[in-house]
Symmetry: C2
Subunit: 215 residues, 2 copies
């Protein structure tokens, strides 16, 4: 593929040099991502925020709360994608970050592949949650479900209907015929479902749906 596409401009804000080093080396050989800014204190990176497509943000910065920072950055730069990269693997933190506009959430032991995928995915406007993060939310969702408060994404009636048919091995075409709607409509619903569930493809959608108890 010969294309002169723009590299994704990434920034890092993290207390620990070692983390920054790790990310830099992970992304060094990647030709679709360039780290244009890295800092251990927010003062150093804030003047460059407007240049960034994606920022990797830690939660436990020594002087300020990353959760608040997330909200602040997101309101100042709505187009900036924020990926939380942290060692806090706690549902409360994850939910707080997502509520405050974070586009991704990764555990610090993330593999290079996943880091790259997270950056590319959020850059494209989709949410990306690390594997452990997803599992944690699902587990939490099932538990809190009984407590009337759940992280289970709210699906509309039609979406649930279509989700069930997808799990039932029907193709979009078959679903369209069954529900007397057009193929496009089914595809649209499917895209929305995929986004709401945070799935990357059919396999993920089915897995998440079943684990959420939606099937």
């Amino acid at each position: 593929m010969i294309s002169v596409k723009q590299k994704i401009k990434v920034g890092i804000l993290d207390d620990h040099h070692i983390v920054i080093q790790g990310v830099l080396s992970s992304l060094a050989n990647n030709n679709s991502i360039s780290v244009v800014s890295a800092a251990t204190a927010k003062e150093y990176i804030e003047p460059e925020l407007h240049l960034l497509d994606v920022i990797l943000l830690d939660i436990n910065l020594n002087d300020v709360d990353g959760v608040d920072l997330c909200k602040k950055y997101k309101s100042e730069f709505p187009n900036l994608k924020i990926i939380c990269l942290t060692s806090f693997l706690q549902v409360s933190f994850i939910k707080a970050m997502l509520r405050n506009g974070a586009d991704g959430y990764l555990f610090k032991n993330v593999a290079t592949d996943e880091l790259i995928e997270a950056i590319e995915t959020t850059y494209k406007g989709k949410r990306y949650l690390g594997k452990e993060v997803n599992e944690l939310l699902i587990k939490d969702g099932m538990e809190t479900n009984k407590n009337r408060r759940s992280f289970i994404p709210k699906l509309t009636r039609r979406e649930k209907e279509i989700l069930a048919l997808i799990i039932d091995e029907m193709t979009n075409q078959q679903i369209a015929e069954k529900l007397f709607i057009s193929l496009s409509t089914v595809e649209t619903h499917r895209m929305n479902l995929s986004a709401k569930l945070g799935a990357k493809n059919t396999a993920g959608m089915v897995r998440i749906a079943i684990k959420f108890g939606l099937a």
Copy 2:
């Protein structure tokens, strides 16, 4: 689509006229399937077996055991596809029929769509089990699992590995790279998995795998 393809030649053997009538009317308007033979006793249909692509076979024939019949027909006409169409929704019968070479198993309350799909699927050489049948086998598989005897399809080490990666939302390409094998190989494994699990697509594979406890 303008094509002069051969219709699938189907036969029915069932005690009850009403069932035969139902199948005939279900398939009457279908232009890819033609019912060329229907009978309430085996003597009437056996001379025509060699003409058939697919036969719908009941289990509880008044004079003879359909399970044995299945084995007999299959050995005489290996290319004949046998779909068991019965009101016996019991695991023991289902297993017996499948052991004896049946290609499909449907409950008699089957919808027209599913009947057609079953015929087309088995005609193409794939196994087709009705929805209720599948669920029953899965449930049974999970229960008997504890008793050291299970209907869970035996997957090879590599197949399990690949199945897990599929459920983990990886594409064939990504799996190939991860396992250092070619895309073709992954596709082959995927096809085998799909067949072993009796799934029609990724969605089904994931659903069945999770319900079998393979994930």
